[in-house]
Amino acid sequence: MRRLLALVWLLQALHVGLAHAAQPLLELVVSQPYLEMHSGPGRGYPVVYVVGRDETLTVLYSRTDWYKVRAPRGTEGWVRRADLSLTKTDSGEPAPIPPYPEFSAHRWEIGAGYGVYNRQNLVSAYGDFGLTDSLDIEAVVQQAMGTLDNRVIGSIGLRHTFVPEWKWFSPTAGLGTAYQHIQDKVPPAPLESSNQMAYVSLGARGFITRRFMWRADWRHYVVFNNLNVNEELEEWKVDLAVFF
């Protein structure tokens, strides 16, 4: 137990040392009558310390909507974002607490979801970067697990949001290129174990709360194979995502 504690202390010293070596910390002055510090980053954790007006806080780091701060006498605790944004810098300007990203103008999305691909269960994960407010480039990696085969599909494409200002529901359309790799479960083996594909998609996206958003997509794939007729596949999926 003592050895474990010593190890924890050593790791902590290393961690703190590295953190301090990196860059100076932000200092803020309390301008409201008092500021409450909680024992943990959550509304349920008790208030353990109160900082008075005109006292200076050092902001160490943040976790979700909470900021870990150090009071003048060295006591550390967690302050909620709304409270910390009322403080000022030493030159009297408002505290530089970044606001929530605006949903209609966000740049990055990362999400995952469930869907059905060619009548197979589909697990999907995606990353999306907004070139403009309405045009995005997205990369999707997904796995479709069926009774006959297992497929891994990767795709990259463009996605247009028709009215990005519509917060809760906004239709989208997209097109792109994809690649699928097939591992058969039951013989006979497929004629080709991998295919190049192209897709068109129709979908929608919307805001949920804070940094959460949802996305739904229907895709129609054309599979380029060596047969006379190209195979066509359908997919739909629903994603839960976080935006930045």
Partner: protein, 223 residues
Amino acid sequence: MESRLSGILLVAVLLSGCSWFHRGDKKPTPVAVEEPQAEPSIIEPQVTRREVKTPKIKAKDFEVGAYFGALSIEDFGTNPVYGARAAYHVTEDFFLEGFLARSKAGQSSLENVFPDITVLSNSGRHFTYYDLDVGYNVLPGEVFLGRGRAFNSALYVTFGMGDVKFADQDQFALNFGLGYRVLITDWLAMHVDVRDHVFESSLFGVDKNVNNVEATLSLTTFF
């Protein structure tokens, strides 16, 4: 002679008169202002321009770690499992988490009773899964160790889906979990988790949902 002299004078007067009228049109010759070079200025400016650079606040919303424990593979006994996990804490309540782990199934009861029967090949006994989960902190709180120490903790539930590769086949699997997180420091946490991976299997001839419950202990770090 006289008239010639007066004529010259007249021309001279006219010319000078013309030049007098045009005196205002003269372009002002640029005057070179001579700066006192050797002379020191009286007031030395004391103010140096200050570079105001606001330090950025580092966000520590990510959590990564490793875990080990026991996985009960239905029909194949309980076996050790090792894995890695990574989470992104979106709000104080919700987080998104990914898991990747591996185990190896033992002998089924059938194989124990009839040693000549082999249900799975050696490679087929590998049980590998990944999960993409949403977690919710149900009961945040504190645990107390003795009189002077308190650690932040949270009881959370997770729900997600992923893939289980067992018997050389990939299956779509849902998972449900209950976990308990204790933060030893603000950046180091210990978890105890119980999770069930449910998927459809027809390994023994009949389609059925198999439950594979695991109990694990994790060590994670926030960054």
